[in-house]
Symmetry: C2
Subunit: 226 residues, 2 copies
């Protein structure tokens, strides 16, 4: 959902003790636009919460509408029930862009873009906001899909729990570019460089019960996260 307000594009988030990038701080980024682009390209977030003293890290889908991140699930979900009981949560989205192959084992690395969000999750009880969030989930996965599908009925709306997390305390961390070797290692006869990685779509597999006269939509045929 690239629908954030254009006047916010240059906004930098406030850096807090927990959101500050400590290791290799030059990779840290607190621009709202950069953070939103990473969130909009990603498909899965990892949600961290604490039950007693035990951390849990659970992968789940998400959507973004302006300065809120939404996650959803069954009201019976342990994750959602724990999130609303947790005082603080942490949600992380990571995009892997490539393997960085240096001449020494030590300097091997990865190119990546990640976002770590801190905050308090809240139940979305307003029906309009809930429906907007459900639209965001579908559109986040496949832009253009929402208008084609049967939209949620009352029973489905009531059977879905939606939580929101404000995007106020977050940081991005980004590595790009070539390997950085020790000076003495550049003369070694070892191939070095980057192997780019990308999450790419394969050939769509139609449902076994799909009627032959239903054409493949352009948004599936030309699917692209970028």
């Amino acid at each position: 959902m690239n629908n954030f307000e254009s006047e916010n594009k240059q906004e930098k988030l406030i850096v807090t003790q927990r959101s500050q990038i400590k290791r290799i701080p030059q990779r840290g980024n607190y621009d709202r636009e950069t953070i939103y682009h990473i969130l909009d390209e990603g498909l899965v977030c990892h949600v961290g919460f604490v039950v007693d003293t035990q951390p849990f890290v659970i992968p789940t889908a998400y959507g973004r509408v302006n300065d809120k991140l939404y996650i959803h699930g069954s009201p019976a979900s342990r994750m959602l029930r724990s999130l609303i009981r947790s005082i603080e949560v942490c949600v992380t989205v990571t995009l892997l862009d490539g393997l960085v192959l240096a001449r020494s084992a030590f300097h091997h690395s990865m190119n990546y873009r990640s976002v770590v969000i801190f905050g308090q999750a809240e139940i979305v009880s307003n029906s309009d906001e809930k429906l907007t969030a459900l639209q965001a989930f579908t559109e986040h996965v496949v832009r253009g899909r929402w208008d084609d599908v049967r939209q949620p009925n009352l029973q489905e709306l009531q059977g879905t729990m939606v939580l929101s997390l404000p995007l106020n305390e977050a940081s991005a961390k980004i590595r790009t570019g070539l390997p950085i070797d020790d000076e003495a290692d550049y003369s070694l006869p070892v191939w070095a460089g980057i192997l780019p990685l990308q999450l790419l779509a394969g050939n769509p597999i139609p449902d076994s019960q799909l009627s032959k006269d239903i054409a493949l939509p352009a948004y599936v045929k030309n699917y692209d996260r970028l």
Copy 2:
């Protein structure tokens, strides 16, 4: 590292309260072989730990040797220092295999394979185990790479902190296959099916200082996670 003992292949892990799959339990899997295959295909894990009452979820590389998962970093890393102070940690690896496009918004889903590991992280102080772990990190990213590169010197070994996590309490969760729509929705004129997704390598980018007479290794040219 597909070097786990063959006699363990059929072994099921003990299911505990925290590792038991609660939502859609038929997607849960506790087979050591299944769990190891997911860990060996993944490249990034999400490490969850608690500082005071605040959860953190940080992406990082990892390696596996038999029934241990290893992560590493600088001894100055907040994550590593917090992990060894944490009583319990949680490490999650997620592979996204496809988008599941149903005829209703509600039944949209994703095909995925994930592993969630619970346990206590320990510092690896034995030099032999530490070097084996460093080899596993490199080989995990690109199999065949370790023998080609300059291996860690004493300073690098001492400048790397390695933590191990036993693979005793873990579970996999897997969704495969076609969308499952409400019976009444199958007659809707909506395309439905799966859009497979895969993390694929692009064309390798040689380092700008790479000598022209160094050939691209086969393990980079034919890179494949499967």
